[in-house]
Symmetry: C2
Subunit: 431 residues, 2 copies
């Protein structure tokens, strides 16, 4: 049932366009419910957050103070994690930190030929809120990917929220938060958690920016608090595009397609290849390998419902399709990935060659795994240090450079009908 098309097929274009346009998420409109929750949290603060948390997460917290996870609880959870997992999280943390440190921007101040001082100064956001999915989801890597760039940016306060349905929370999540330097953790989730972070309550001080993945309620809440606080892109289902030629190993490519499909919830894997033989071999391998997974359901659904194998006449054609898809992840399963790397204009992340499965980037490569999905790589980037910093412009004139610029400024102020603007310049000219 996986779509299989060739770029020479007469019906290729409509089928490819259908693949691009196909909805992979149920677009449940929860915006009214979320608006009610946000308004409630703004009005009643802690009381609302406590009530909503106990109701939605089936918990029995007596007071808002219970919503914060104590240092002792964090330490106990951290101590319960095996040494192997602890070492893996530390490795991931250190590599993510090291790579993100290279993203720190430099301030720039210069004086131009007129004597005007111009500049750009970068400063960190003061406080950031990180949303972490809870319950069955146990994604400590997501904690690292959101918290480490903020820490590297110089954010002094990182507040994490994670729902604990039926009181459950996975210990590795708390350990990851501890390793990353999260400053406070609250056991709350959903729209109420996003509203509490954005507007603050007596217990939870407001933050300046909210990041992290969540369900439809979380996404709608982020959209609604946007403007009061900053937010990251609203994430859609994960996806990979593998571009392969005859040099690719079909079993390896199949494993990568399955790894993406197993995310479920509309996840998609697309193979674009110049080799029909490879396409056939990969299709067979995917079917074979899925059957050997302990939990094949998600992978099978993602592969059969949302995925595709596309054969093309050349790598140049593959690049054209890649730029239309603007995939979150692109793997170049080629002996010479550099030959087409420079032609790919839109991608969240690109993985080079046969020995770079995307999963390395999910965990320990060092680059960020929070990446633009659903074609949004056309206009946005993965999460990074710059998302937790902001630029302030600097402008400085002395009497002579002000005089040099004054005529043009006054003329434009007149054109725009802003007399006060013109006067603020002319009053300094003593004429």
């Amino acid at each position: 049932m996986t779509l299989r098309i060739d770029s020479a097929d007469t019906d290729f274009e409509p089928l490819f366009q259908q693949l691009l346009d196909g909805k992979r998420e149920s677009s449940q409109d929860v915006s009214d419910i979320v608006a009610g929750i946000v308004a409630d949290v703004r009005k009643r603060g802690d009381v609302a957050v406590l009530e909503l948390t106990n109701r939605f997460d089936r918990t029995h917290f007596a007071s808002a103070a219970d919503l914060r996870i104590s240092e002792a609880e964090i330490d106990a959870a951290a101590a319960s994690v095996t040494p192997e997992v602890r070492a893996a999280l530390q490795t991931a943390h250190d590599r993510i930190k090291s790579h993100h440190e290279k993203q720190k921007p430099e301030n720039q101040i210069y004086t131009d030929h007129l004597g005007v001082t111009l500049g750009t100064v970068w400063t960190p956001v003061d406080a950031v809120g990180i949303y972490v999915p809870g319950g069955l989801a146990n994604y400590p890597s997501s904690v690292l990917m959101n918290a480490v760039p903020a820490k590297v940016a110089g954010v002094s306060r990182i507040a994490m929220v994670v729902p604990t349905p039926d009181g459950q929370i996975a210990a590795p999540i708390l350990l990851a938060a501890k390793i990353a330097g999260v400053t406070e953790i609250y056991r709350i989730g959903g729209a109420q958690a996003v509203a509490a972070l954005a507007y603050g309550t007596a217990t939870i001080a407001p933050v300046d920016k909210v990041v992290g993945p969540g369900n439809a309620f979380v996404a709608a809440a982020k959209r609604q608090v946007f403007g009061k606080v900053g937010i990251d892109m609203i994430a859609g289902p994960s996806e990979v595009l593998v571009i392969a030629d005859g040099s690719a190993n079909p079993a390896w490519v199949a494993a990568d397609l399955i790894a993406q499909a197993e995310h479920g919830a509309g996840a998609r894997s697309i193979l674009v290849t110049t080799e029909k033989g490879l396409a056939d071999a990969v299709a067979a391998e995917v079917t074979r390998q899925i059957d050997t997974l302990p939990n094949p359901t998600h992978a099978r659904e993602g592969w059969e419902e949302h995925s595709a194998i596309i054969t093309v006449a050349s790598l140049a054609e593959a690049v054209l399709l890649a730029n239309r898809i603007a995939s979150e992840h692109i793997e170049l399963a080629l002996d010479d990935p550099q030959s087409i790397l420079g032609s790919i204009r839109h991608a969240g992340a690109i993985f080079l060659g046969h020995h770079t499965p995307e999963a390395i980037g999910d965990y320990v490569g060092g680059s960020n795994h929070v990446l633009p999905t659903a074609g949004t790589a056309r206009f946005t980037s993965g999460l990074g240090v710059l998302d937790f910093m902001k630029r302030t412009s600097i402008l400085g004139c002395d009497p002579s450079s002000l005089a040099a610029l004054s005529a043009a400024a006054i003329t434009l102020a007149e054109v725009e009908g802003l007399d006060g603007h013109g006067r603020s310049v002319s009053i300094r000219l003593n004429r």
Copy 2:
């Protein structure tokens, strides 16, 4: 009626907080109306855009083809602009371009000690839509400030929309678009213009990002199309904070406060000074100067309704307040602005010393005048080249670096219950 407070007043904190929280815009909720317009444009395309334009702008266009402003019309409008205004726009353009060219980011590729290739590659957005207010508004500087960074980023297609109520359009706007290299201009506005840019019609190809200021309908439409396309920050009323000591010239400070207040629509000017005498002198000067404006209404309203003079004991105290306000513009009317520049953490743009009225930055300084308002400088930046580019991560392993990272990656995949992820690594290890 302008608020006048001293940081030593017993009621300072509630009054200052009230100033921070005070609403300066009517928050008309037009989201339902806008949702209807966006859906209509998605469904009926050009037909809807044409109907809505003729209705809201009182125009009589016969077909969608008429909505595009022709090259001949642009050239005729451009030729009608005086040489003085043309020269001023060219000066502004050249300085904005020159400064923004320094913002272009560098690609970065390196190999770490394990042999892992990591990198960051920047690419421009393909197509950008710029919203320009029309009718009575004649702000060619806004065209330059939005279009030039996109052009510098390498955006190949820049589509501008500007409503022409009763068929009116100001010639300098078309000249500015021509100078800036805008590739196409449509005489449409409101939510229908934003929807047409985001989703495309038969006449208007869709863009990847929509930027530019607009009324409540435009703002609501941008919020609704966010995700389908990128958007810039939703702009609020303009504002300036002047920090002055005894070295400041009260007439100059007053002129700057008036220049900001004359924007109307909730614009705000705040003076924070260590000198009570300066505060008195500036208050008197503002009143005197406003009376001599050709059109004093907006300036008087902005000054009396939304503005404030605050006296403080020290410049350090002024900085504390500045960081709470997070103003769009900050002027440091001091002999030694460098003494506190480094302490200001949140500001859209900072203007140094007595000879840098904010209006220079509005037009010809070279820095961008599209800046974060209403405290959003806490988490976001003014418009710049990076807003029209996006980062792609690059990751590359060879067999040896993959082997070095494999144990940690497989462990984390197991923790997260993603067996397919682990296998995509282990299958490459020949074990």
